[in-house]
């Protein structure tokens, strides 16, 4: 798996939301500040539910918060042996 195939704009979105603090975002989303730090630094890809909650806090679609680079994602495709 590639390192940065999932990017996020949380830092920028926080800035445009009156420099919202990580703690305030964490409280809104229902996680710890540590988790927001990890997500922002791309050390942890959040669950879909948390991702939607973050997008909801900023009032934007999820694609404006997270972006996915398919070319950078070196996942191994499954091959169906029966065919």
């Amino acid at each position: 798996m590639s390192k940065d195939h999932i990017q996020n704009n949380i830092r920028t979105l926080r800035f445009f939301k009156d420099e919202m603090t990580q703690q305030a975002l964490a409280d809104e989303v229902g996680v710890t500040r540590q988790t927001i730090v990890a997500i922002e630094k791309m050390k942890y890809p959040p669950t879909l539910e948390i991702a939607f909650r973050i997008a909801n806090v900023f009032g934007v679609p999820i694609t404006e918060v997270f972006s996915y680079d398919a070319e950078a994602d070196n996942f191994k495709k499954r091959t169906n042996k029966r065919c």
Binding site: M1, K3, T32, R33, T35, A38, Y44, P46, T47
Partner: protein, 150 residues
């Protein structure tokens, strides 16, 4: 340092102090009585059971004290709160710890199969349990520092 990291550090210290302390107490301070009995299975049975009891009681007491101190320092925060990230880290570190324990358990069978004295088995088992306990907390700290990738 977050509450979860503090918990991991505290767990690590208590595991080393209590288990290490009890091993030192048995084989260091009371070595004259214990060492001649290391070939007896009864001695190891007593040792393991007492060690488990002592460490559990001491850990409960230490955790109560830890909770009191942490509650006074972090009045606004819920100490028991764990989000998905914390749960993922806990599961992964427990998995790694279990691997170490299984390796220790299987390794402890090797001296018995080779016809070595019984204390080889128990020492290997003890070392496996001790290392797996430490590894769990070390991995937690590592995952909090480096992050996790799905």
């Amino acid at each position: 340092m977050s509450i979860q990291e503090k918990k991991a550090v505290f767990n690590l210290i208590t595991t080393i102090v209590f288990m290490g302390g009890y091993i030192f107490y048995t084989f260091g301070i009371h070595g004259d009585e214990s060492l001649p009995r290391i070939n007896e299975i009864q001695f190891w049975g007593e040792f393991m059971l007492v060690m488990m009891g002592v460490t559990i009681v001491l850990k409960i007491a230490a955790h109560i004290l830890f909770s009191i101190v942490m509650t006074s320092r972090h009045k606004d925060e819920d100490l028991e709160f764990m989000d998905d990230y914390d749960k993922q880290i806990e599961m992964r570190s427990d998995r790694n710890s279990n691997y170490i324990f299984i390796i220790g358990f299987i390794s402890s069978m090797i001296p018995i199969a080779m016809g070595k004295p019984v204390y080889y088995m128990f020492i290997t088992l003890l070392a496996g349990g001790f290392i797996s306990g430490i590894v769990s907390d070390l991995f937690k700290l590592r995952y909090y520092k480096k992050g996790i990738k799905l």
